[in-house]
Amino acid sequence: MERMSWLSKLTPRTGGQRAPRSASLQPPVTADPETCLMVFKNHWAQVLRILERRGNKPAPDDLSAVRNNTYQMLNLLAEDRPRGDGDRSQGNGDVACGPILEFVAAENLLERLLCWHLQGDFTEERKVEQLKLYEMLISQARQPLLRHKSVLTPLLRLLSVCAEPASAPLENSLVLLLNQLCVSVAREPAILELFFHSHTDQGPANLIIFSLLIPFIHHEGTRGQQARDALLLIMAMSASNRAVAQSITDNSYFCPVLATGLSALYSSLPRKIEVRGDDWHFLRREDWIGVSSLVLFMNSLEFCNAVIQVAHPLVQKQLVDYVHNGFLVPVMGPALHKTSVEEMIASTAYLDLFLRSVSETALLKTFLRFVLLHRHDNTTILDTLVGRINSNSRLCMVSLSLFRTLLSLNCEDVMLQLVLRYLLPCSHVMLSQKRAVRDLDIYGKTAAKFLSLIPRCCRPESPPSPCDRDEEPSARARGHSSPGADPPPAPKPSTPSRLSFFMRQASAAPTEAAAPRSPGPPTGSPPQPGARDEVAELDRNYLEYLRDARHSIDRCAWACRVWSAPYDGEEPRAPGPVPNPDSPPGRPLGPPTPRTKKRGLPEEGAREVPGGPLGGDEPIAGGPGPDPQDGGTLVNGAHGAAEPVRPEGDVVVKKVRRSPQGEGEGGGGTPNGASRAQPPGWEPLPSVDSLLEELLARTPAEPPGAGVSIETFTEELREIEAEMQNGSVGGAPATPTEPPEPPLSHEEEEAFASFATLPEGDAGTGRAPPRPPDPLAQVVASPPRAVGPPPNQPFTGPFVSVLFGKLENMPHNSLYVNFLLTGLVAQLACYPQPLLRSFLLNTNMVFQPSVKSLLQVLGSVKNKIESFAASQEDFPALLFKAKKYLIARGRLDWAEGPGAAPALRRSDTLARSRKPSLGELLLRHANSPTRARHAAQLALQGLRDGGLHPLAPPARHGEALRVRNAVYCAVIFSEFLKELAAIAQAHAVTSPFLTE
């Protein structure tokens, strides 16, 4: 979707139009002014003779005589130049007007002429004639004419005569003249002042322009276009002229007509979108350009966008308000809540299209405000849309597309409502883990974890390596119980091979890529060796995922600079259980859990109802689990103290379970301390580890458990923190430093002391790690067990629940749903905010028992796929075909895709050509149906020998469909895991310059 850029279209058009015309109409030889004046007077004398013949109707001869003479006269007038001005370019200033114009003014010639016309039978035809003449005059004039009353007054009078609805030719001429008028006004804004002071029968002159143009705002074709262009020019002028803006908002119907016109146009949009393929899920330009009602709507929406872009804030605000109250609320709201699925699909797709098309921030804001906050039938639009993800395929796909659009805005408000506000209280993690929110996984553990979830049946090699054998059963056994509890088995190839990997000898450069590759034993029975290689490429595309992940994260991080807070678990603080007093009543503040009754009960209902059909087999996180009654008492603090105990015990169990696999890091250093302060097996968490280290180091002499209380420790940490915030003021005496640039700042000293194992006594005052921008060395001011309001009921929000529910159901989703779904989750995972990042990607986090982690969900999908594969004898062959098909389809589409970068196409590595395949092409197809069919046919032809067809065409009966979905899911799932792994890795290397 291209951005709306009205002005860029506008400028060349008017410019290009003028040049040829003035060239053609220009008299070949410009006679000297005196001669011209003589000729002009001559014509006028002839006309005058007719004009003065009062009384009867003019004879036809008279009419044509006047017409001819007037034509000549106006041409001469247009050619008239200001006196003493040889050079036309400086014609504006205070130059005296030209001789003919002077004469015209003296004789009040145009006015008299018009009066004569008005006396008689002023037919439409004659009106058109007059309009055309004036249009010619204004567009061709060599001097500013409109500032002269003798021109302006008759012109306005003529316009007011044309106010009534009329035939198409008249309207065309009228709009053209008005357009020309606006162009002139835009060139010479001073004229606008004159308009204010000239009055016509219809009121102030500036208004007549409006009132005449406004009816054409929503017209199609050139007429509407010219009218909109003309209005836009005035709007642009309003930007610097408050009076104009005021008169637009106060005295014209411009904004209401424009906004409510959208409503009218919307009502004529198709209620049902004729869909060509089962993969269609959003409206592309190709889709709507052929639907005239949609084109009309989009023109007007584009126009709104353009007006907001150029107009004065007053106009902007009025228009935005009218769009909200005159279109979104009364029309879009109900449309989104229509009961028929077809209508829901259509309205969702429309909304998505609108959101993608609007480029002006103010207008976008209004749309988003509508989506996020407006309540229809007591449910926010957002919640309704979230719920739709849960529905069946087409509506689900359209909704997913809409959310993709929303996420791509990188809008804080959207993310806040969708996800972040549910994560803010950090109640989804164990209290003790709050500080780990900001941890970055720099060793790729998360990535390893995700990759380990690739189902065995989808792995490239048939005999799993010993390493695989080791981790596989345990990983499965752990499955749901302790996600992310254990460190991933670090893949350890022999040292030499790793070394060789890092030796980027020139000789080992690109050519090497293809050569020594050992073709992974195919999982199926491939028809040709070539195909096998191709498919095997899927196993080697990780680098591309890394590249793309880096790119996406960088972009997202950069875009999020404008956000108000980092969402790192500390800032912003979660709102307390009491609703924020200044929040608008009736709007949800916090998580709509039963516990926080005051805030979001209506949403709760909305969340669970649509959750029914598909999410049935898995509990939506937070849904069935918590007991509302229990929650209610907790709000009052009754169980405040008891609450943390239960989950804590749970953690202990998990930790014990995973401790055998613990990597033992830091274990040596903190044996007794750890057991005193924390449950055993605590150490794998780096931050806690380091904190404990500090704690121990601080109190070497004191018996464990006696001297250091959590409180004093916290206090000290606070002090240190405060010191660091004030620069090195506090603890300076430790190191005598030179004034200008202390060689070792206090801060640095402390930092050093924190990590180095220096001889005892050298460590100085600060034992805590510093708090530099480095998120890895975090010190959290709050004690491990925060004493505060009881945590909210852990619920990560309807959006996450629905996505996770849908993810869990992956093996049953259609191919396209899975594409969109995994894409959306990946998009979400690219957000750099620690709260979100840790929730999705920190596999070390221990969540509250009722909170499902992404890893758990993926683990269950893995299990489903594996059991399906086990039950399906020919799974390897099917999988191979599925890959093959997707690749072929992708390549075809990619090759012909207009957007394909030449660089990509020319690249000879298979991996490259593979890349766009699965994703790009699938949706590319959706986008251009004919090409899609064609491509699919080709792909099928090419693959028929391979016996692919059972997979490719839409299966007729349920069983085939089920198998097909599951097999495609296996392919997508594996790729998705790689993508997530790459994203997890890329987060650790995001450049600090993007966020600072």
Partner: protein, 293 residues
Amino acid sequence: MNPFWSMSTGSVRKRSDTEEKTLSGELRTSPLRASTKKQLPSIPKNAVPITKPASPATSSQSTNGTHASYGPFYLEYSLLAEFTLVVKQKLPGVYVQPSYRSALMWFGVIFIRHGLYQDGVFKFTVYIPDNYPDGDCPRLVFDLPVFHPLVDPLSGELDVKRAFAKWRRNHNHIWQVLMYARRVFYKIDTTSPLNPEAAVLYEKDIQLFKSKVVDSVKLCSSHLFDQPKIEDPYAIIFSPWNPAIHDEAREKMLTQKKKPEDPHCKSMHVSGLSWVKPGSVQPFSKEEKTMPT
């Protein structure tokens, strides 16, 4: 957009499309910038170490398709993450750059601006064990053996181990080694020295120690323009000031500092949206009229 799944390049708003292009353009140029960065900037805070784009592509494909094949990615990314942490630390006067040939070898230089070693410019190389982060601590070897109690007078190796007896993943980071390397020049430690002569002099005859240090600093400076000890495209090379090359770069640096926003805004036109009032968690809580444009 995500690589595999971006089903609809067309659906993405045009804005982001173009951004994407410009952004990738930006990325593409970064190696270039990185290489022009061989000349050390005169103003430390101004220096923007460019993270070298990871390019483990070339040989990764040769490994078998097992999980093990991802191992190198972890290692390289861990090192890249370490490098990112170094950048975040903004250690005054310390610059490093991973070598072209191996991510396990980093070239560096340290400028000492105060104290006994004032005006010292010491080039060094950091060697990271290939079983990082589970191995020993990285080694740091100065190109020329600086006269210092903790620097081996023959090999130039700094005694890093004393500060990092046990290298612990998650807890220890390479920036700490660099910080340590800087620190030893400001806080002289003479216990169990690698250079006993220096240690003894420091304790017994500080004047002689100082003059030896001055000599050592001078020696290092006199070899500043030498060819790098290890040949590598990303090795740090010093050269005399050449107005034809350096003036422009200097100018760029200085102007960039003045308006850091501009170049970015132009190259990456991505902007997110926010109407949230700082401190609030309410959508659209920001005052009107202050909306981002």
